[in-house]
Subunit: 349 residues, 2 copies
């Protein structure tokens, strides 16, 4: 039986709490610390022991795992203190405000010998797992472009995520997930990056960004997150030399399109479109195309904490390792650098 205490009992922490409660018999959330008395009151109502100071919380040892779910700028300090105090630590994403911070946290974890991982739970998202399955099994051949988008319409960034000092903005909030997925899926170095960040309706931080990067193996990747994209493009879009895949939304509707012809056995014709005659861009005869359903996948976010527990118990290898999240943070730093310089950045990530 493992017990978990939470530093920062905000929206995400409450979600962790309820999710663990509903899904685990060998993991129980027992305590919380927050600077906000209202959140502590909620923690109490939810059956947790509520600590009013971090010192008391860290001294209690009534739990063996600490979840840090504060605003991003407090991650480094609390993670290090929790590790020093003898706990295994899970940190919300983005793990840190910089690679420098992460390296400090990682050194503390290594020195103290405790587990340290990051809640990159979207490695278990269904849409991502479908895309990964299609990629791993070559369903579209060798891809030349893989595009991952989350287009929201709200036009609002909430709470501390509006503020630069807290590590706000969409690169840190959603970008960190989408980049993590792409680095997890494609086993190749990132050799260059070009990012444009915009503050459309949120003055201090990015609320839209477009990131394009190139892997050493030749694949071009694109990540785009917006909070005021009133028309949405698909969640996933990828094309390869053997076909194309689209996953429309989190509902995981979509399709894979193949060609039936391995050699070209149809005569290209010039077609008249409203944009004039074209042969290269003429539609294919419908019978040369084949539509396949998306692969079925089984996935659950409970796999994240399952792996944490099993790793602590010596029964599994840690999946979300620090080197893997460090790559993501390096790519994020390259994004910020690219946007600030207004040009591309060579990378070795």
């Amino acid at each position: 039986m493992h017990k978990l205490g939470i530093i920062g009992y905000g929206g995400m922490a409450n979600w962790h709490h309820q999710s663990i409660k509903a899904n685990f018999k060998d993991l129980e959330v027992v305590a919380a610390y927050d600077i906000d008395p209202e959140r502590l009151e909620l923690a109490r109502k939810n059956g947790l022991k509520a600590y009013e100071t971090a010192d008391d919380f860290l001294a209690s040892h009534e739990f063996d795992i600490v979840l840090v779910a504060t605003p991003n700028n407090f991650h480094c300090d609390y993670v290090c203190r929790a590790l020093e105090a003898g706990y295994n630590v899970v940190c919300e994403k983005p793990v840190a405000m910089s690679v420098e911070e992460l390296d400090k946290m990682d050194a503390t974890a290594k020195r103290t010998g405790h587990l340290f991982s990051v809640h990159q739970n979207r490695r278990w998202d269904q849409d991502y797992r479908i895309m990964k399955e299609a990629y791993d099994t070559g369903m579209i051949g060798k891809p030349f472009t893989i595009e991952s988008r989350v287009h929201g319409q709200g036009g609002m960034v909430h709470g501390w995520r509006e503020f630069k000092v807290a590590g706000g903005g969409m690169v840190f909030d959603w970008g960190v997930h989408l980049i993590d997925q792409l680095l997890d899926m494609v086993d190749s170095k990132v050799v260059s990056v070009y990012a444009n960040l915009h503050s459309v309706r949120t003055p201090e931080v990015d609320d839209y960004f477009k990131l394009v990067f190139r892997y050493e193996n030749g694949i071009t990747a694109q990540v785009e997150v917006g909070t005021f994209n009133l028309v949405q493009l698909p969640r996933w879009y990828a094309c390869g030399d053997g076909g194309a895949i689209v996953i429309n939304d989190w509902d995981c509707s979509g399709k894979i399109i193949h060609t039936r012809d391995t050699v070209m056995n149809w005569e290209p014709v010039v077609v008249q479109t409203k944009a004039g005659p074209t042969r290269t861009m003429a539609p294919r005869p419908a019978d040369t195309l084949e539509e396949l359903p998306l692969p079925k996948v089984e996935t659950s976010w409970t796999s994240y904490y399952r792996n944490i527990i099993d790793t602590i118990d010596g029964k599994a290898e840690l999946i979300v390792t620090i080197p893997s999240v460090r790559r993501v943070l390096r790519l994020i730093e390259a994004c910020f650098e690219s946007d600030e310089k207004g040009e591309g950045v060579k990378t070795d990530i």
Copy 2:
């Protein structure tokens, strides 16, 4: 009455011929030169005087305008010779293989005093004109991203367009149009460029490319052309601080989406998606959104030759000027440079 002679009576030249025949009373195609006897035979059948040598063609002076519609690597030589021989010259796109070539052609035009223009006819495409109208009249507010795509499925590049020596590939074939449109629409310098070119099924030249660039005014632009994108993304997609527009295809179906609320008067809620809870990416209440039809535009490719004739007759200013196509060619050179170096390129275009 103006008369036109054609150098290179291939597919596009024949299209020019038929289009002029159908639409003009004061412009007549009268002659053609081609190195291919079969094409000359077709020219004869189509009622043209067919010349077997360029010297004879250029010496005839039975026409006052020459259209150069050869493979791209012959543009510079024929344009210069036709200008030197005393003709007004229209050249197919891309005007040249390099800015260096173009500057030579331009210098010849200036010295001889004859008209020199490029057939960038897609400035009059209906889909482009709709997008431009929406941009010019602020229908989506200040845009932060404008994306222009042509996704073909054929997987074939035809004829000389397969070969590097002839200036083949999609950047030169379609990119030159889509870049031209974006430079024509947005009155701002291009300050950096990032391009990835792929040869998916055509070994020598690019048959897919993704280009992202940034204007000095902050807008991010994306151009993407592929010949083997078995799933298509929309022809135009743009988002601004006042709404979004999508034009699905050359059929010009699409929509503009606005928000009805100028101030936020709805309470954001956390929604449960298959990808977990989200507040930032929660869909808006439907009644806060308003769908508008695309603007109506009247446009015709005949405007191109109308402007050429009227310019020669001193009744109009030339629309497709050499400085405007020179910018496009500079951007194309920056694309090639970006792709070769595998990184972004700072520009002042």
